[in-house]
């Protein structure tokens, strides 16, 4: 049984201009201990899919799926209270902007304690110890002093570490990282990716990496889903994807990497998507 199984997920938003389909029939499976990367440009529905799974979308969204189960439990049938027991404990998420996703009014220690209080039956002292332990695990120097720091007193990389500490506080079975390193420098990015993959390996977590950076995919993923405009273009294991990308869009993404530039100009994705659209119309006629 897979850790997470989603089949034929569709999400529609009601807008003033009529319904807008953000996701059109995508499938995801994640096994325990596997790293799945979801790649695509902005607007491809990467984040929407995960938010839909966690039930975090606004009321204007309609979510339908043939199957949406986590460890065999149907996520669609859960009540809000039941869902809250799963989300934050067994499934947790790290967002793109670390500084914006922490509450500026509370110390980072308090925000960590909050998670532990909601999901574990540790007593006050044990919680305090666990917070220090978590901050040490994510590599924050002087954790005893830093628990009382406010988010604005920390750098972006440190805030992201705190977010990871919060997300992994209850040993989740599935961790979703939504562009965890986009706002960070390469050296910090490397540290955060190493931290995430290390935690993933040590705890045998399933990890979903949402990103638009093919470099990050190459460094972390086992399997890759490529998405474009709410549709799934290709699913493959990471080596196959980089060695023999099947879909033209994947090939386009890979050739847009600056290090793969051959001539004076970088091939852009639109060069390919236009060619792809032409191919399709020709095939139809």
């Amino acid at each position: 049984m897979s850790l997470l199984q989603i089949r034929n997920l569709r999400v529609e938003f009601d807008t003033a201009a009529g319904p807008f389909r953000a996701l059109d029939g995508v499938d995801y499976t994640v096994e325990a201990g596997e790293v799945l990367a979801i790649v695509g440009e902005s607007g491809s529905g990467k984040s929407v899919a995960m938010l839909a799974m966690m039930g975090l979308l606004p009321d204007s969204a309609t979510v339908t799926a043939d199957e949406m189960s986590f460890e065999g439990v149907d996520l669609r049938s859960l009540s809000t209270a039941q869902r809250r027991k799963v989300i934050g404990k067994d499934i947790s998420m790290i967002f793109q902007e670390p500084i914006a996703s922490l509450n500026p009014c509370f110390t980072v220690g308090f925000q960590l304690l909050e998670t532990l209080k909601a999901h574990t039956d540790l007593n006050r002292r044990q919680r305090r110890d666990r917070v220090i332990e978590l901050l040490t695990a994510v590599g924050i120097p002087e954790p005893e002093r830093r628990v009382n720091a406010f988010p604005h007193q920390m750098s972006g990389g440190q805030c992201q570490r705190v977010m990871i500490a919060i997300a992994t506080a209850c040993h989740p079975k599935l961790l979703i990282a939504d562009e965890p390193t986009t706002a960070l420098d390469v050296t910090i990015q490397k540290q955060i990716l190493d931290l995430l993959t290390g935690l993933q390996r040590d705890h045998g977590m399933g990890l979903i990496m949402i990103t638009h950076d093919m470099g990050v995919v190459a460094e972390t993923a086992d399997r890759v889903v490529v998405q474009y405009q709410g549709k799934q273009m290709e699913t493959a294991d990471v080596l196959t994807l980089f060695e023999a990308p099947e879909h033209p869009y994947t090939r386009a993404l890979l050739s847009a990497l600056p290090e793969n530039a051959t001539g004076d100009r970088l091939p852009t994705v639109s060069d390919y998507t236009e060619a792809f659209a032409r191919e399709q119309t020709e095939a139809r006629t």
Partner: protein
């Protein structure tokens, strides 16, 4: 005889943080003496992590901030804003594009007005001509004439960055400082903007100072590379020299941290993983 459009010698910038009643004021050396030359029509890339003084350097080059000591010479003319001898012409010669295209455009200004403002402020071009110039510039950066009357929120990130670039070259500057122009953009959009920058450089013989922390982008766009670390230029040379034979430890760390997307390194990673 080299044709250096920008000559920077031993440039320093200190920031003094105000002390309290019992704490003495502290001095932060943001840029600790950098020197470099940029040839006309070439690109210098400045690489480094956040807080290493890249953006302070950009602020000094664009005459927003005064250097504490050292000299900047643009197209043969020394620049010294402390002495207050900066003319309009000098300021027009240098323009800047900022990192965040969402923050650098006024949300209440239409794109047409954004592009015309530099002309309105600095030249006596009549209104009709300003409009024509703005229209022509829109097409040059890959936008359409109908975008003239739209507001920034109606554009995507990549389109906004095109507008910011268009605004910067309205006055036909000699030097364009690009402060992380593509780091907020998607990979596919990033490629388009880099192509646009290359085209514009050819067309207007522009000189770029390109600030970035992404080495793969730098390798693609730069002629010369300068690596900064804690306010110092730890490495400075041609692109090939820096990339093929990095000297300083920090440069090596940077290279090691850059994700590799080639098949061989994925194989190595997967092998290491299955062995563990």
């Amino acid at each position: 005889m080299s044709d250096a459009i920008l000559k920077v010698r031993d440039l320093k910038r200190d920031y003094v943080t105000k002390g309290g009643m019992f704490t003495p004021p502290r001095v932060l050396h943001a840029v600790k003496g950098v020197s470099f030359d940029v040839e006309r029509g070439s690109t210098l890339a400045v690489v480094g992590e956040s807080g290493c003084g890249k953006s302070t350097l950009a602020r000094m080059l664009t005459m927003i901030d005064a250097p504490t000591s050292g000299s900047i010479e643009i197209d043969g003319a020394p620049i010294d804003i402390n002495a207050g001898k900066v003319t309009r012409e000098m300021r027009q010669a240098v323009q800047i594009v900022f990192q965040n295209p969402y923050g650098s455009l006024n949300p209440r200004q239409k794109i047409g007005a954004v592009l015309e403002e530099p002309l309105l402020l600095n030249t006596s071009t009549p209104a009709a001509e300003r409009r024509d110039l703005a229209m022509a510039m829109l097409e040059k950066v890959g936008l359409k004439p109908e975008h003239y009357g739209r507001y920034p929120h109606m554009f995507s990130g990549g389109q906004r960055q095109r507008v910011a670039i268009a605004r910067a070259i309205m006055l036909k500057p000699k030097l364009l400082v690009l402060d992380e122009p593509v780091s907020a953009l998607d990979l596919s959009v990033q490629a388009q903007i880099l192509n646009l920058l290359a085209d514009l450089q050819d067309e207007f013989n522009l000189t770029y100072v390109f600030i970035s922390h992404d080495l793969s982008v730098v390798r693609y766009i730069a002629d010369q590379v300068m690596v900064m670390y804690f306010g110092e230029a730890v490495e400075y040379g041609t692109r090939d020299a820096v990339f093929d034979n990095p000297q300083h430890d920090y440069t090596k760390t940077l290279f090691a941290a850059t994700p590799r997307a080639d098949v061989a390194s994925i194989k190595a990673r997967l092998a290491a993983k299955s062995a563990a």
